[in-house]
């Protein structure tokens, strides 16, 4: 399977996603008005969609990155292993994303 392109695509998405992280932190440092601007965005449906996508990109890239580490160490090159690792990253990434959002809505209140 050619999943390496997904690793690359999520890496590039995360690259630009750091703008969001920086915006958030700067707003927190700047004061209530700036912070409610951020919250207006993250509270909108498009903002939620972007955040959900960001969460998935991060989780997928993380697991896919661990897969790279396993290869770097010289393991997991057999076809069956490669397939397994790839599916683990794919399914694990989606699972972690959904789990995190359930936790977020439970303790964050989903406001």
């Amino acid at each position: 399977m050619a999943l390496s392109i997904v690793h690359r695509a999520t890496g590039v998405a995360l690259y630009f996603g750091t703008l969001l992280l920086a915006w958030w932190l700067i707003a927190a440092a700047a004061g209530p008005a700036a912070y409610s601007n951020v919250q207006a965005f993250t509270g909108s449906w498009i903002g939620r969609l972007v955040l959900f996508g960001y969460t998935w990109a991060l989780m997928h890239h993380l697991l896919s990155g661990v897969r790279h580490f396993i290869w770097d160490l010289g393991y997991g090159f057999k076809t069956a292993d490669r397939e397994w690792l790839t599916w683990a990253a794919l399914i694990g990434g989606v699972t972690l994303t959904v789990l995190l959002w359930i936790v977020a809505y439970t303790i964050g209140g989903g406001r």
Binding site: R8, G11, V12, L14, Y15, T18, L19, L21, A22, L25, I26, A27, A28, A29, A30, G31, P32, A34, Y35, S36, L58, L62, G65, V66, H68, F69, D72, L100, V103, A104, I107, G108, G109, G110, R111
Partner: protein, 139 residues
């Protein structure tokens, strides 16, 4: 020392690189270059840091600015976030450079985009770190 000793193993007689320069970066990290190695270090660092960072994000959700500022300003959390930001900035700079080297054909455009990548990565990281410093020094 003059660097113009040439022998059969020297690829180009007119190379301006010193003998040390030619063999550096093939060192103890294995066969990789130093950028490759740093990509791994920062990746491992983020793998270790992702759990605390996610916990911090979960703590922040649904709070107002005052609440968020208080959490982000506490020393241990500030330090965690700064470490993650540093690792992330280095990692994304190296990663994007590889992508640019792969896809940008035009040499000049390649140099310009790699330079822009350096500026962007540094600027985003400094902005985020500055915000955390400000939050940490008692708003």
């Amino acid at each position: 020392m003059s660097a113009d000793h040439t022998n059969s193993r020297t690829p180009k007689a007119n190379s301006m690189r010193t003998p040390l320069g030619k063999v550096r970066k093939f060192g103890p990290a294995g066969s990789g270059t130093s950028d490759f190695w740093r990509q791994r270090i920062t990746g491992v660092a983020m793998t270790l840091l992702i759990l605390p960072v996610v916990v911090v994000i979960m703590m922040l959700l649904g709070r107002n600015q005052a609440g968020a500022a208080q959490i982000l300003g506490s020393p241990l959390i500030a330090l965690t976030m700064i470490l993650f930001i540093i690792a992330s900035a280095l990692h994304m700079k190296i990663g994007m450079q590889v992508v640019l080297e792969d896809y940008v054909q035009n040499e000049k455009l390649k140099l310009v985009s790699i330079m822009a990548n350096n500026f962007f990565s540094l600027a985003v990281a400094l902005a985020a770190i500055f915000a955390i410093f400000k939050l940490s020094s008692g708003v």
